[in-house]
């Protein structure tokens, strides 16, 4: 029984750590550019296909392939921002949200045209042995994912809070005009936000397909939404919150599947989310609004 619980927790941790990784990139763009980037999940999908092309079509070794994937996604992220979001700087935030949905459709249908609808199997490029702890085994990939997520989370937190570029980002997120009065290059800062966010999406994409070993054009949609939920659960704009939110989401999901009902698991997960937000309206780690009357 105990083994079973631990195994289910580990299952949750495995999916959760991937949600967390995706949520990091999500929250980054979300917190700084103040927009829900619905295309984030699809950048993960592009990352997955990019890795596939690099490894299978271009026959690159793993490390250059990973680098190429990350660069591709970062460039793509910046490109999307320039073409589709930048012209809408002065528009209401919801307008950008809709454009992001358009971009998401675009990326999905483009990859459908290029790679077809049939799922493509893909063998994991990460080969780390599992660890046995008593009667339970923790898969190597779960450990790698957790490690990568934690490193990204710490790096991102330090970057945003401790570096000059990081505080420039936070300034831009609050008031672009005032930020430019500080001498901050607003456009470049936002580009950098998207580059980092998309870089993280690429990392997530790589780990995602190493975990699930199958590619299809719609693979980013569900994780994208889950990551959005995780980011809000953890508190919008809070980097550690995104990580905690993601992992928690994975664990709640797996526990409710295991001990309540697989059929109602989604309802339970979302129910927990609603309850958490009712108790703590700004998410687990979110700051309460600083608006002073």
């Amino acid at each position: 029984m105990l083994t079973n619980i631990i195994e289910q927790l580990l299952n949750g941790l495995r999916t959760g750590s991937i949600y967390a990784l995706i949520a990091l990139g999500y929250t980054m763009v979300y917190g700084i550019a103040k927009m829900i980037n619905f295309a984030h999940g699809d950048i993960i999908m592009v990352g997955a296909y990019a890795l596939y092309v690099a490894i299978i079509n271009m026959q690159l070794p793993a490390i250059p392939a990973v680098l190429l994937t990350c660069v591709t996604c970062a460039v793509l992220g910046v490109g999307i921002e320039k073409v589709a979001y930048k012209p809408l700087r002065k528009a209401p935030p919801l307008a950008v949200l809709i454009t992001a949905i358009g971009v998401s459709y675009f990326l999905q249908s483009a990859s459908l045209l290029i790679f077809g609808a049939t799922p493509i199997p893909f063998k994991s490029i990460i080969d780390v042995p599992a660890i046995k702890l008593g009667s339970v085994t923790v898969s190597g990939l779960t450990l790698v994912t957790l490690l990568v997520t934690t490193v990204c989370m710490i790096a991102l937190t330090l970057f945003i809070n401790k570096t000059k570029a990081g505080s420039a980002m936070r300034a831009v997120s609050e008031d672009k005009g005032a930020a430019s009065l500080m001498g901050i290059n607003v456009n470049r800062t936002i580009s950098m936000t998207f580059a980092i966010g998309s870089f993280l999406a690429a990392v997530a994409g790589i780990l995602y397909i190493c975990q699930y070993q199958s590619l299809r054009p719609t693979l980013g949609a569900l994780p994208g939404i889950k990551a959005f939920v995780a980011a809000v659960l953890g508190g919008i704009g809070s980097v550690p919150g995104a990580m905690i939110g993601g992992i928690l989401l994975g664990i709640i999901e797996s526990i409710s599947k295991a001990y309540i009902s697989t059929e109602l698991a989604d309802a339970i997960v979302f129910g927990v989310l609603v309850v958490v937000l009712l108790v703590k309206p700004s998410g687990l780690m979110g700051k309460n609004s600083t608006e002073k009357v």
């Binding site: 936070r170 609050e174 005009g177 930020a179 002073k292």
Partner: protein
């Protein structure tokens, strides 16, 4: 040569013309006051100079360089600082982070710290509250922060939009003293003020703005004695 030279500036909000062809100059070391009624266009001029709003026509030169089409952050890094109307502090950042952002364009760590000390000395309240979130400061405290933040960049020219707004009388005097000091240290100042009397007191020259046009200009002391100025802006 004028440090800041604005020629035939016209600015629109949509179809509304806010600035209707204005020219003025600010010379090195001067304190220039810009006064005028509500909605005359003072804020609009400052915003246009620092690149927050694009002008329709006209030319803006800073130290001989055409900055009309330059992006805001480039203009600022040329040595210009702007205390904006409504303070616009970064509400979810701490006081200290706000101040450090003021020095964003500077690299010299030592000197930045020196500037920080200087700002703290001028506004002790800011040092007391250095880790408070700027959004929770009182109105007057925020005004001090906006001012301190601008000083952090060690500007060669300082643009100020109603810096005394919301400050207690004691601090209003303080602020004007600080402006005098800053000017004495060699910084050029372009000051927009509703408190025309105090502004004209410390200014060398002044421009009087009326609905998008310059109605009067001249030495501050002359304007102070100008009957129409007295009547319209000094409340006498």
């Amino acid at each position: 040569m004028a440090m800041l030279k604005v020629t035939d500036l016209k600015v629109y909000y949509g179809v509304i013309q806010a600035i209707k062809g204005i020219s003025f100059e600010v010379n090195q070391g001067e304190v220039i006051a810009l006064i005028g009624a509500n909605g005359a266009g003072k804020t609009t001029i400052l915003h246009t100079v620092t690149g927050l709003i694009p002008p329709k026509t006209g030319k803006i030169e800073f130290e001989g360089k055409d900055i009309t089409k330059l992006q805001g952050h480039k203009i600022v890094s040329l040595g210009m600082a702007h205390v904006p109307e409504g303070r616009r502090v970064f509400a979810s950042l701490t006081v200290l982070e706000n101040l450090k952002l003021g020095a964003y364009t500077r690299k010299d760590k030592e000197e930045i710290n020196a500037s920080l000390e200087m700002v703290y000395k001028r506004f002790p309240r800011l040092e007391e509250r250095k880790s408070q979130l700027a959004g929770t400061l009182s109105g007057g405290e925020q005004q001090m922060l906006a001012m301190g933040r601008a000083l952090m960049s060690k500007p060669r020219i300082l643009l100020m939009d109603e810096p005394s707004m919301g400050l207690s009388p004691i601090y209003v005097n303080e602020i004007f003293d600080i402006i005098k000091q800053v000017s004495a240290e060699g910084t050029t100042v372009l000051l927009v003020e509703q408190n025309a009397k105090k502004a004209l007191d410390i200014a060398d020259r002044a421009y009087v703005l009326e609905t998008g046009n310059i109605a009067l200009e001249g030495k501050a002391s002359d304007l102070m004695n100008n009957e129409s100025v007295k009547k319209a802006y000094l409340g006498e």
